[in-house]
Symmetry: C2
Subunit: 435 residues, 2 copies
């Protein structure tokens, strides 16, 4: 066997399709990139790596369904500002100076942060995505990459944008042992022409892949789209035939009842980004209403420049607590639900639920271990589900495995030299600011 790992006597936490979380003590065998066996009695002979699972939780790696990984470079560069000033005076001028190298180093930093906090798959939308692909290839995690297409109605630009996303698909889809997939990424209904939106749908269908788009994030966006098209964003996309079950709609904050029905009817997936929505004062997504309608809601961190981290465990807590205070109902978004959103629902959103998001034989070995012998997770005998959703943070992740490879063990990265990369990132952002 090339690569096999036995995790012995570990508490397995498995998100299920019915919304529950199954827990059982067992051992788990990884062969190559997959979970080969889950059994109390697995022979240790011939196993190249044995991990003692005592006092640890084993669960699927987190799936972050909306982020802009290279923007990790811009973490804390501009905060506590109006959205307009944040974008116009800070983010856009910096983005204008980006190149592949900057996007590579930003994405590498983001990948390290994700590995350290237990995220094994993310869905990204940005520029210079070849740089992001290089970082992901090197870091060992799984990424769904889309190029953020924007044309503002300019035909020339539109053609180039589509060309860029198609070439990203052709060059990188299914590369890096299948860890990289490519989606199409029309940025939003207010930055893309109707032609670009339609062409994006056409290409996604042609290449049998998905779509990633920002939807209904701010109140102003709704007003602008209403003015431009006479319709609310989801009504507009529905009318032009854009929507289908392969669409991840990020944010979904300002939604009418009619739009919720459209989302449901088209099986559109919603990526909930509570920290970003709170920090930028965008508003509160009616998540418990979406869930009541059986809509698949997953969780995203958005970019680190509007969060300011990529910690999916923290994001689960924000999702649950924000939903509770918004509805004044402490029962909504319980612990098991946000854990399901951050794992299995993420896999469903990205059309990867036959490969990731569960701890089952035949699935990819995208797994994390959490050390229960930690101050903030003690007692470990009350509820590990509540501990994980409400008391933990990313630093409780002890071991991260993606595609059968151990990327972090005992909180130490196995291949990347993190401190060296942090110093390189500091240098890069200073160069960018001064360029």
């Amino acid at each position: 066997m090339d690569n096999n790992i036995l995790i012995k006597d570990v508490l397995i936490l498995n998100p299920m399709n019915n919304g529950e979380i199954e827990t059982k003590k067992s051992s788990l065998l990884i062969e190559n990139d997959k979970i080969a066996k889950i059994d109390n009695d697995i022979e240790e002979n011939g196993i190249s790596k044995v991990i003692n699972g005592e006092n640890k939780i084993l669960m699927p790696g987190f799936i972050n369904t909306h982020t802009h990984l290279s923007m990790t470079l811009f973490r804390s560069i501009a905060d506590d500002l109006d959205l307009d000033s944040w974008l116009n005076d800070h983010i856009w001028p910096l983005e204008a100076k980006l190149n592949k190298e900057y996007c590579y180093i930003g994405a590498l930093l983001g990948a390290i942060e994700m590995i350290k906090s237990g995220t094994t798959t993310f869905s990204d939308m940005y520029f210079y995505m070849d740089g992001v692909a290089d970082a992901i290839s090197e870091a060992g995690i799984r990424g769904i990459l889309s190029y953020g297409m924007i044309d503002f109605g300019d035909e020339e630009k539109r053609k180039n944008e589509i060309k860029e996303n198609v070439s990203l698909f052709k060059n990188f889809n299914n590369t890096s042992e299948g860890r990289i997939k490519v989606f199409f990424g029309p940025h939003s209904t207010y930055t893309c022409s109707q032609e670009l939106l339609k062409e994006s749908r056409k290409q996604a269908t042609k290449y049998k892949t998905g779509l990633h788009i920002h939807m209904n994030e701010t109140k102003k966006e709704i007003e602008d789209v209403l003015e431009a098209t006479g319709k609310r964003p989801f009504e507009y996309l529905n009318d032009i035939g854009f929507l289908d079950s392969d669409v991840t709609a990020a944010h979904g904050v300002w939604l009418s009842d009619e739009e919720i029905k459209i989302i449901k009817d088209n099986d559109v997936k919603v990526s909930h980004n509570p920290c970003s929505n709170m920090k930028l004062s965008s508003g509160i997504s009616p998540v418990s209403e979406l869930i009541k309608n059986d809509i698949c809601v997953s969780i995203g961190t958005d970019g680190a420049s509007s969060n300011n981290n990529l910690d999916m465990i923290e994001e689960m807590k924000f999702a649950s607590l924000l939903g509770k205070v918004d509805t004044l109902n402490p029962k909504v978004l319980p612990a098991k639900q946000v854990i399901n959103m951050a794992t299995l629902n993420g896999a469903k959103s990205l059309n990867l639920s036959n490969e990731i998001g569960k701890v089952e034989v035949g699935m990819k070995a995208d797994l994390i271990l959490i050390d229960m012998l930690s101050a903030n997770l003690t007692p470990s005998t009350n509820s590990i589900i509540s501990n994980l959703a409400y008391a933990a943070n990313g630093s409780n992740v002890d071991t991260t495995i993606c595609n059968g490879n151990i990327l972090m063990e005992n909180k130490k990265l196995t291949s990347l030299n993190e401190k060296e990369i942090y110093l390189k990132v500091n240098e890069a952002i200073e160069n960018l600011k001064n360029s």
Copy 2:
């Protein structure tokens, strides 16, 4: 010199009375329990302990102004429930079985969690406070202890409750090298008779100490107090002469304009507990309104059973982001403000601002170091203030010093055997549940 520590070439982050945060690179000398010198050039000769401050932030330890430390034992024991069911079916039955030993081990766990996440001072209200005092004495942090007095109008009970808090004061105030102070802790306006509230004020004034009380946490509480007294809680306390600048009012969620005026006029301190208020669906405190009125607002985690952790860094992020989304104004509660709330305002609330909450010569050496070379704090060249408020969590704390003693260094506790204590806690809560 008995005990001196030199922290060399460190980036000092100092909260200031004007709400700003001063940052400067310098070295800092601790002699015994105090900060003795802050200077670029401090002689290393004769120093017993030198810490290299390169790539680290030095700042005041966090001050958690409202918690119930022993309840750390109940972390994740009951979640996602209505307040009534949470209290009646879960918390109160368990509390009825508590004793000094349980409260000691719960408080010790809480103390470890605080040390690990950079909190050096907390204000507590609970039962069996001698057990809490023992834990604090052992753990080395600073605690303001109050006994939670409840009489529900019963005169006999009232006398005993007052006696209990007075005896706590006499036995423990200013003990453990001055690390323990004792306040008076009438639980709330809906669990205490007017006589108990008045007697608490009398005793606090007599012993020249402070008062710690739950105020205006839920909508139902306002309705109940209105029905019982004809007044809203702060109006009622104002009329009976309870309020003064030595009162910490925890929560302050449902406040009328008149009550905000009463708080301001009496210089009452408010402890904001965003996670607990969100998780229990109590509501959203109008914090930015309080701040606009120059009211001193600090931050508390509440007990771990309604949070579910004691991480003040996470609590700062919740405070800021909740304030922003509540007002739909991204400029309110900026990073520097929540850091000030979690340090200097905490000290002011507890009448300790001449001793803690700032990094200045003559202050107690209650200090923490944060390692900037961490994935979630990189780049460290954009804004360390934003990194701290929005990107960090308690696990980024590297070193915790209280009263001049190093309690944690390089993320390892210096004196307590943490894993052993975690296993003891697991055993204790199982015994309590089965008793």
